[in-house]
């Protein structure tokens, strides 16, 4: 659905994007993640035709953005970081305007009613946009992106400035939209990617430093897992037994004691699942395990490690899905 090839965007001598390539398939929901100034917004602006690239190409459903921008833009619904709203218009007036602006051919009333229903704007449809809450303004921004039923939806920082309840509502809305659309979500909020996206592209200093499925990126990038375990057994013997298991590294007691159980933290070697041997070792000695969880392997940790690595180590250490 979306094909980005060798995209370069230069502002003077600074590269905002440097040889960025990726493809996004039909119906995928992809998170574009990166620290501020990484090049996310530049990438989004080029994808939507707002900016031109220095070199490289973008095509939407095989339509080149440079060769046929009008046709390509018809396939995209875009919510910029700051929703582009006219405060002097009511919600209804604004959506009608966008409907005409996009040259939409769907049956007008039914289409706009459906969008108002999906975005839950029914109660505020007659109010001036200037008087809406931040959350409702964001909904209007999403509603305008949905007009024309575009195949691709691009959201730039859609939950910035919203309260926790509004954030959950917008995330639910995005998840529902992803059922029928290809969605790109740009954010620096890692929880958002974990909550909504099935794939994540991490970008830093204009380069892609990771492109993986969200559920496997941690596994793919971490050196191994770190576990926290609580065992009912003698502290020193448990520690010694755990450290002898093949694949277990650096067992540490946390000093935490709960009745007759002790807590430990240990690392496992990359590619070795030590959970079963740990269970068997404890079970054979009659030490019940009352807790075992992976710690320190959330997306945030991965993100920071990747960005640090990309900044500190050589270029060209990109991970690409499927390679």
């Amino acid at each position: 659905m979306i094909k980005v090839e060798n995209l370069v965007k230069r502002f003077g001598n600074t590269y905002a994007l440097n040889d960025v390539s990726f493809e996004i398939g039909d119906g995928e929901i992809v998170g574009l993640l990166g620290p501020n100034g990484a090049g996310k917004s530049t990438a989004m602006n080029i994808l939507t035709g707002y900016l031109s690239s220095t070199s490289g190409s973008v095509s939407i459903d095989d339509i080149d953005m440079v060769e046929d921008p009008i046709k390509a833009k018809k396939l995209i619904g875009f919510l910029p970081e700051q929703p582009p709203l006219y405060p002097e218009m009511t919600v209804d007036e604004f959506l009608n305007f966008v409907y005409e602006l996009k040259g939409c051919t769907l049956e007008k009333e039914a289409h706009l009613e459906e969008i108002i229903k999906v975005t839950k704007l029914g109660e505020v449809r007659s109010r001036l946009i200037a008087n809406l809450s931040k959350g409702n303004k964001q909904r209007v921004g999403i509603a305008q992106a949905l007009i024309g039923d575009p195949k691709v939806l691009i959201f730039d920082e859609p939950t910035v400035g919203l309260d926790p309840k509004q954030i959950l509502a917008v995330r639910n809305l995005m998840r529902n939209l992803a059922k029928n659309h290809t969605v790109i979500l740009s954010t620096h909020i890692l929880a958002e990617v974990q909550a909504c996206c099935e794939r994540v592209i991490i970008i830093n200093k204009g380069k892609i430093i990771a492109d993986e499925r969200t559920d496997s990126i941690v596994r793919a990038i971490e050196d191994g897992y770190r576990y926290r375990i609580k065992v009912c057994g003698p502290e020193k013997e448990v520690a010694s037994t755990l450290s002898r298991i093949n694949g277990v590294k650096s067992v540490e007691s946390t000093g935490e004691r709960d009745l007759d159980s002790f807590a430990f933290v240990f690392d496992s070697a990359k590619g070795v699942d030590v959970r079963k041997p740990v269970f068997n070792a404890c079970a054979s000695r009659g030490w019940p395990i009352i807790g075992l969880e992976a710690v320190g392997t959330d997306l945030e940790t991965v993100f920071i490690r990747l960005v640090d690595a990309a900044e500190g180590v050589t270029e060209g250490t990109q991970r690409r899905r499927g390679k």
């Binding site: 502002f11 939507t48 035709g49 707002y50 900016l51 031109s52 220095t54 921008p69 009008i70 046709k71 833009k73 018809k74 995209i76 875009f78 910029p80 700051q82 582009p84 709203l85 006219y86 002097e88 218009m89 007036e93 305007f97 966008v98 005409e100 602006l101 996009k102 040259g103 305008q144």
Partner: protein, 235 residues
Amino acid sequence: MLAIYKRELRSYFKGAIGFVFLTVYLVIAAIVFAYSNLFAMSSHMTSFFTFMLLFSGIALPLLTMKSFSEERKTKTEQLLLTAPVSLPAMVFGKFLAAYTVFGGAAIFTSLYFLLLIPYTQLQVGLLIGNMLALLLVGMVFISIGLFISSVTENQLSAAIGTIAVILGFLGIGLINNLLSSSFFLRYVFDAISIFSRFQSFTNGYFELSSLIYYLSVSGIFLWLTIRVYDRRRYN
């Protein structure tokens, strides 16, 4: 283009700018008409239309100052530039909206002369010529205003910049009158002067070259506005 035209036109009257422009324009025109024609019982049109030309140079930037600068400042231009609409359609939609408001005002004020019908023989051809001249010059002023508005985020800068450029164009005509008739610059200034071409219209002469001149100058500024947006996509 139609969507942008309709929205722009509505926005003039959702806020105060459209009403302020129309009120001030019609009232000033009425006062000038009263003094130069009604009280003087004169059907001479040149002084009225010349004054309205100068006044349009100051009033029209009110209409155009926020056309692009406000969109840029509030980032609503992102909606327009990512919509399936071409840059010429976007610029022309805004141009037509401003021109509709100005055109309505210019035609209405020209009709003041109909009040003289009971007292004098009105030269309808001359009236149409004067009105056409005002409409053509207004077209140029609006195009200049849109161009200046596209290069700044600040409405006030857009308005002041537009007035300065318009006064510059009008000033060429005034300087021209001071130059010796044999001086070659006089020919150059004569060719590019908005004012001297306007005068020939007010004297009842319809010149095709003047019509083409006004259309060309307006077209150049609209083209420059499109170029500003096209260029910005690369920067």
